[in-house]
């Protein structure tokens, strides 16, 4: 559901999620706002990119559309 998560929620690293690693929260660079994972090599320019990655992944893995990610 669209309001499943509050807008300022921390973002789980979708690449770690893809590898079935327990949630690793993304960090955000202070100077350019880039999102990055402290555990793997995942990087994203902005929040919509992370959300889309996760949504596509869940759709692909489990056949569930989660527009609210």
């Amino acid at each position: 559901m669209p309001d499943d998560l509050p807008s300022d929620a921390k973002l789980i690293c979708p690449a770690c999620f893809a590898r079935d690693v327990d949630p690793v929260m993304l960090r955000r660079d202070a100077d350019n706002g880039e999102y990055y994972c402290a555990f793997c090599s995942y990087v994203a320019n902005d929040k919509p990119a992370v959300v889309q990655f996760m949504r596509d992944l869940v759709q692909h893995k489990y056949g569930i559309d989660r527009p609210g990610f």
Binding site: V24, R27, D29, A30, N32, E34, Y36, A38, F39, C40, S41, Y42, V43
Partner: protein, 554 residues
Amino acid sequence: MLYTNIIHRLDAKAESLASLRFQWQAALTRGLPATTLCSYASLWEENAVSLAREMSADNNQELGLHLHAFNCPRFHEKYHAADPGFWLLPRATQFAAIQEMVERFTAVFGHPPASIGGYIMDATLLRHLNETYPFIRTAITSCFEEGARMYQGNNRNWMLFSDGGPWAPHWPSRANALIPAKDAEEAVDIVALPHLNRDMMMALLSRDDLFASHPGNIVRARINQGKDCPYYFRFLDAWRRQAQHNGWSYLSFFISSPWLSAGHWISDHPEYTRDMYLDSLDWMRVHDDISVCTLSQFGEFFRQEVPPGTPHICHWRDELRQSKREFVWFITPHYRAAFDFGLGGTLVDFRPYAGRIDGDVGPETACQWNGSHPFVISAGLRGGYWNNGWSVEIEANGARAALHNDRVRCRVERDGDFWRVIADPQTVRLGDGTLTLRQTWILDQSPKIRVLREILSKGNINGPVHILDQFHGSIGTTEYPEDLRSIRLHTRPGAAEADLPPLRARLELCGEDSEASLTAPTLFKPRFTLALRTPLSTSKPVTVCLTTSPLTPN
């Protein structure tokens, strides 16, 4: 100068020979020297030998041996061995097969081989080669950072564990081939080379075999766009840059011909691999700071210019994603270390070599299949730096701030026999105040890692400032905990120490006026912690040292 070896493998199959001819001609028409290593089965295959003889007429070609292709009728009938991996065969079988290969090579080509390649060549095998075949002076001895993560990614079909060693050419210790020798007396007199160069970020974060100096591996990773792959050439250029820090750099371009042939089990577009192969050779030709040579030519350069005991550094950027993440790797005869500047310079991989523990593999050895040198820190295999790593916090104004929460850039400066790794200043918020400080790592031939911390500025910080170092360590080669009951932890004024009997090594974390504390491992948290709380003033930097030393039995 980036010294580059173009390496081919002579195989027995007709399609492989056709691809090898393509590789040879590509090098020949560009005037580039190359080395072709003859596998076991190929030495008795008429068409293969014929091609090798043809190639040997080319003055730019060196022929050597490769310990591969034992899964053939001749070998099965002669040795009754089931393992196709040479490194896992009984020692007597290894020695007999090498003798057979050297004799056959000499009979066919009229001279003995000067170079040899293998996936794992352990210390006993290298000592045997050196004593029995002194004309073999250069060897490919290991595959950098192939271990637990590779094993997970290869469907358990490739039983090769050699984590924890050098990524660059080195003089192997007589005790353990993954450990660089400290002097000529300790060294096996064979120059040891890595099988391939690997992405030094992906070596820590993922599988590095998909991100290597090998177009077929790039296509396997599906990071090419047809015959183009900008990442791949950024990766190659990164190895050119390493020469700035060490005076020289090395690139192994070892692509066996099946990767360029139709029908390869995983490379669905050999034409892309071939195009990238040719582009790689052209890349080698256009840069003045690249010297392409044969294995033996590189070995002789190394003998002349790089004495045993010389440390080696690698400053690696995120060439894959081109983010701000940077890593520094450092190796000496005392330890190997990797720092992640995406985590403020946290030590994320650490292997003490002081104990010179055995690393031989095979059915008669204690290690059996596991040739990896154990870590004390592996953030990647143990779930993150919060479980396994040396991280730092600042304490002031009744608040704490972690330096590993921020990405920083760093630069590497060489000053004679030591290197400074200087991180960009970090500003942290502590309650109502802010503090800006800088960390500098001093790395040299000694068994010490020294870290200098200096306050550059502070605002609204009242009272003392302390640096809190926490070294979370364990022992292992995989994700799973091992028995840590023999570990002994001690403190003395200004220092916290760990005695690690399985590694025959002692670690000491010490600082100026530091308060030391310890945390013992538990079954739920199988790690020990060495901690220091060190006062930090604006008047002078403070230094904290991590020292490795051999553990002497009581």
